[in-house]
């Protein structure tokens, strides 16, 4: 690889490391695993940089992160050394009127975070790609390797579950 290629790689791909790390955090639910996977994915991206055709580099990198996470988890399961830490914590009960707005926001955030980690993998990944990474159905379909119709139905089911978990209740439509 020439210095020019390397510089191009650094310019095009490396700015998306935060997004890559965010996806890995949600998929693996472990900060150390996420770091290792993002490093592995970056090196893999470098190796396959020739094959990158110049589309959206972020979606391209996220697809690699998603595949690396998948492989990582499979390897872990095969090793059977690690006991998967399922977030089975119950949703917090509603606290009595907290006067502190920051505290309320923090607890709201924790509530949403818990709800999402309670989702099955295939739902969690489409929700994160859509709500956090803000990708289109087509991009999500490309990353996950399913048709757009499947992306839509998974998103719909995931949101339905989350509405229940988060106790979203809209009484009157405006």
């Amino acid at each position: 690889m020439t210095d020019g290629d390397l510089q191009r790689f650094e310019r095009v791909v490396l700015p998306h490391l935060d997004d890559a790390y965010t996806l890995a955090r949600y998929l693996l639910r472990d900060e150390h695993d996420a770091q290792d996977v993002v490093q592995e994915a970056s090196l893999r991206a470098l190796r396959y940089f020739d094959g990158y055709s110049g589309g959206d580099a972020r979606a391209w990198l996220l697809a690699i992160v998603r595949n690396c996470s998948f492989t990582w988890r499979k390897r872990q399961r095969a090793d059977d050394r690690t006991v998967p830490v399922e977030d089975t914590a119950e949703l917090p009960t509603r606290e009595a009127d907290a006067p502190d707005v920051a505290a309320m926001q923090a607890s709201e955030r924790a509530r949403v975070q818990r709800a999402i980690s309670a989702l099955p993998e295939e739902f969690r990944e489409v929700i994160v790609l859509r709500e956090v990474e803000d990708l289109s159905y087509r991009e999500i379909g490309d990353i996950v390797g399913v048709p757009i119709g499947t992306v839509m139905s998974r998103l719909a089911r995931a949101r339905k579950r989350l509405a229940v978990l988060l106790d979203v209740d809209v009484r009157e439509a405006s």
Partner: protein, 252 residues
Amino acid sequence: MVCDTCRDSLEARLDDELTPDEAREIDRHLATCASCSRQFATLTETHRLLSENLMRYAAPDVLKARIRGAIAQAASPRVSVRAAPPWWRQLAAGILIAIASSGVTLTVVDRSRGGTAAAEELLASHVRSLMPGHLTDVVSTEQHTVKPWFNGRVDVSPAVPNLDGAGFPLVGGRADYVRGRVVPVVVYARRQHMINVYAWPSPSAGAASAKDLSRNGYHFVTWRSGGIEYWAVSDLNAAELHTFVATFSAAR
């Protein structure tokens, strides 16, 4: 439009995946159908809760440094020395002025075999230091913790100036084995870049010489001060690394 058709498209309406015509048709139905409208409101509220509250994580600086290190190494396992580019000479003039006040003399030296070998070892050591858990033996942002830590571990007592004010926070220190001996390494940071400063007892006291080597985004600057030969290694850009060296040499 019947409700079943409408409900199939609510997700796509929310996510802006419909054509303008399709969207208008859904909106018309929602305006007249309380049941679909309520479902859409639930969906919208769920989406709002998620997009406002889901965490976006920043990749840790050390991870970014690790990745840059691993990438540079993968792209080229060998380091070589390049002659200083012309712009460097202009920069050197500026640094000369900066350093003159600290009693350190600085000259540009041609490439040398010894310098290349040292740079190769230092690059390997630098990259190794960015692997998980290898960067620091003593983690401290406090110079009075890091400096005494070297006592009894290495036979050189490097300067450990506090450069917080200049934007180079101290990260910590470690003992490393380079060029045939155990040497102290003081670690500083600049944004997501790590700077390793190696120190050796200098074979010759007196005037300091500065060599500037670089390869694949890594820069090396060496200088001598107080009978100690220092090497700073980083993937930081050359200009900022020189600012760092100037600040380091000037600080006491």
